[in-house]
């Protein structure tokens, strides 16, 4: 747990853990898992709202609950930056984590795969530095949150957003804005649509 900032840590411990270890190929058990995912997301969203820290919307866009879309936003210098958000639940979930994608930011930052998949290494490195047995790993950068899943299938979508996307936005959006890679939507409309 050390390495995360105290805020993330205290938020994380308040999101209900999941008890059913099941993925999209597990039939009825997956439906059970999906219910727990919803409960965790509902609790997390409610918590964010009551803490005045509402920062994402997410919903399943197919009945199987394997594809999710929504929005997330981050306030920097009093301006709100909003992004589309999407991910698939991998077949081997929850042994592997969903790869969270922000397609509008594709190509705008190094800390992202093609397709706008966010790269989490940098933000999780402190936590893992102690436990990481070898740095020669064969996986790519998103590995850290994934390995966490491998060990903790009790984490769900809500935890992935809290652990993965929230710190990513906090670290990367200010950089992207300050370097001019992204513009606030009011700036964009006034400059490009005139």
């Amino acid at each position: 747990m050390e390495g995360w900032d105290p805020n993330t840590k205290s938020t994380l411990t308040q999101i209900p853990l999941l008890t059913t270890k099941a993925g999209p190929r597990d039939g009825a058990a997956w439906t059970q898992r999906l219910k727990e995912e919803y409960k965790a997301l509902i609790a997390y969203t409610q918590m964010n709202k009551s803490n005045d820290n509402d920062w994402f919307r997410i919903s399943a866009c197919n009945p199987e609950g394997t594809r999710w879309t929504g929005k997330c936003w981050y306030v920097h210098n009093l301006l709100k930056y909003e992004f589309d958000l999407q991910f698939d639940i991998p077949v081997t979930y929850p042994s592997t984590a969903p790869e969270i994608e922000l397609p509008q930011l594709d190509g705008k930052t190094q800390k992202m795969y093609r397709g706008g998949k966010i790269c989490l290494t940098v933000h999780f490195k402190p936590l893992w530095a102690k436990n990481w047995f070898s740095l020669n790993h064969v996986m790519k950068h998103i590995a850290i949150v994934i390995t966490y899943y491998a060990l903790c299938p009790r984490f769900g979508i809500a935890h992935a957003l809290c652990l993965g996307l929230a710190p990513w936005l906090a670290a990367e959006v200010p950089v992207l804005v300050d370097s001019g890679m992204i513009k606030h939507k009011d700036d964009v409309s006034s400059s490009s649509e005139s």
Binding site: M1, P16, T45, L135, L151, R154
Partner: protein
């Protein structure tokens, strides 16, 4: 085009003849030379070789298989031609997968199934196989283009999809099950799956599919710092699956504190990837054509030129349900296995007494019995040979330190929960 170029040469010749000023002749000669060059280039437009019906051992320049069939004559392989009956699936057509595909194509493999969702990029040009003019093509299409030119005898199937998605995984599974290439084959429609992917999710998806299908596969990987790699043989139920234990990685031997990991772009070298592809396909050939020793795990540390090997038994507490099913089947089949092994040993003992070979050992080379059986059975999941480490920590600290799971919510209807979240999302 050739006719036109020939006309041009004739025109130039008559022009030269009609010119009275000889000082212009040299420039006309230069022009003529250029046209002749063009004519030669037009003639050397690539020709595709035609298909070969049977593999021939005949030693002539025009036989694409003569050097391979020589393996048979030298006694390395009993029946090389059997390679045409085999199907190999290659998942991930990147730095390792594409080279492995080319090697198997040149070896005359029967059928190759290629899976990748990515496109060729200029950033891939530090590796082997793909060419700059293929940038923008899907890796599967580009691979089929090159491979079918190299060897039209190989049946190529390409699947442009992501096997970690639910839909991609279904297609992946059904393509492995398809037995139309060799209907008499037992089990699935492929003889071996090679995992040449670069991420954990895809490896877990291959592992899932192979455990469910009881399909033997080989895993390969190159480290992010491009200086080490490994290959591993996975036989469901018999050896550890990819989910049985944290992946093994080859330690680089340099002080980890001095390793720079800033930035996010993984390094890659054509050398390391080529070596790993070579080790992978060598193990594949030995496995398919039944010669030599098939390595259960072979690591490669390029900084120290160190090649650790080991074997791992499956974990009875593996988190993968299909793995546990395969383990149970393997244990149930033990009596039959023992009987077969005994019969084989007796047959070998008989032939050994008949011919005591290599009596005069000029080079003093001794064949060491490294008791493979001991290695297979004796390696516990915890004891690792020097130079190998586990990739993941072995304990979950978070679970111990966090609040228990919530099962308090009384609502247990998916539709109601979905609407609750929608309502929260609406404001």
């Amino acid at each position: 085009m050739e006719v036109e170029l020939k006309d041009m040469i004739e025109d130039l010749e008559s022009l030269k003849q009609s010119l009275s000023d000889p000082s212009l002749h040299s420039s006309i000669d230069k022009l003529r030379l250029r046209v002749e060059n063009l004519t030669n280039m037009a003639k050397s437009v690539p020709v595709r070789r035609s298909k070969v019906k049977d593999m021939s051992a005949e030693v002539v320049d025009s036989n694409p298989y003569s050097r391979l069939m020589a393996l048979q004559r030298m006694g390395i392989v009993k029946n090389y031609e059997r390679i045409r009956e085999f199907s190999v699936a290659i998942v991930g057509v990147g730095g390792v997968g594409s080279v492995a595909a080319e090697m198997l194509t040149r070896c005359g493999i029967g059928r190759l199934l290629l899976y990748d969702y990515d496109k060729v990029e200029l950033a891939n040009m530090n590796r082997l196989f793909f060419r700059p003019e293929q940038v923008g093509m899907t890796k599967t299409d580009a691979a089929v283009q090159t491979l079918s030119d190299i060897n039209p005898d190989v049946v190529l199937e390409s699947y442009t999809l992501n096997i970690t998605t639910v839909q991609g995984f279904d297609t992946f599974m059904s393509s492995l099950r398809n037995k139309s290439f060799c209907p008499s084959k037992e089990g699935t429609g492929v003889d071996l799956v090679l995992s040449c992917v670069d991420n954990y999710e895809a490896r877990m998806a291959v592992n899932q599919a192979c455990n469910e299908l009881n399909q033997t596969w080989m895993e390969s990987g190159v480290s992010e710092d491009a200086v080490s790699g490994h290959i591993q043989l996975l036989i469901p139920g018999e050896t550890a699956c990819f989910a049985c234990a944290p992946p093994l990685v080859v330690a680089s031997g340099v002080d980890e504190r001095t390793l720079k990991r800033e930035g996010v772009c993984a390094a890659s070298l054509p050398t390391t990837m080529g070596v790993v592809a070579g080790l992978l396909v060598q193990n594949t050939l030995k496995f398919l054509l039944n010669f030599g020793y098939v390595s259960p795990y072979l690591g490669y540390n390029s900084l120290k030129d160190y090649f650790p090997t080991m074997a791992m038994k499956p974990n009875p507490q593996c988190s993968n349900a299909a793995c546990l099913e395969r383990q149970e089947e393997y244990i149930l089949a033990k009596p039959a296995r023992d009987a077969a092994a005994k019969a084989k040993m007796e047959a070998e003992a008989l032939s050994a007494t008949e011919c005591q070979l290599h009596a005069d050992n000029e080079w003093n080379i001794s064949i060491v019995d490294d008791s493979e059986q001991d290695r297979m059975d004796g390696t516990s999941a915890d004891a690792l040979p020097e130079g190998l480490t586990r990739e993941l920590p072995s304990a979950d600290e978070f679970q111990k330190s966090s609040v228990p799971g919530s099962t308090d919510t009384s609502v247990d209807d998916l539709e109601i929960l979905r609407r609750q979240l929608d309502a929260l999302n609406a404001d």
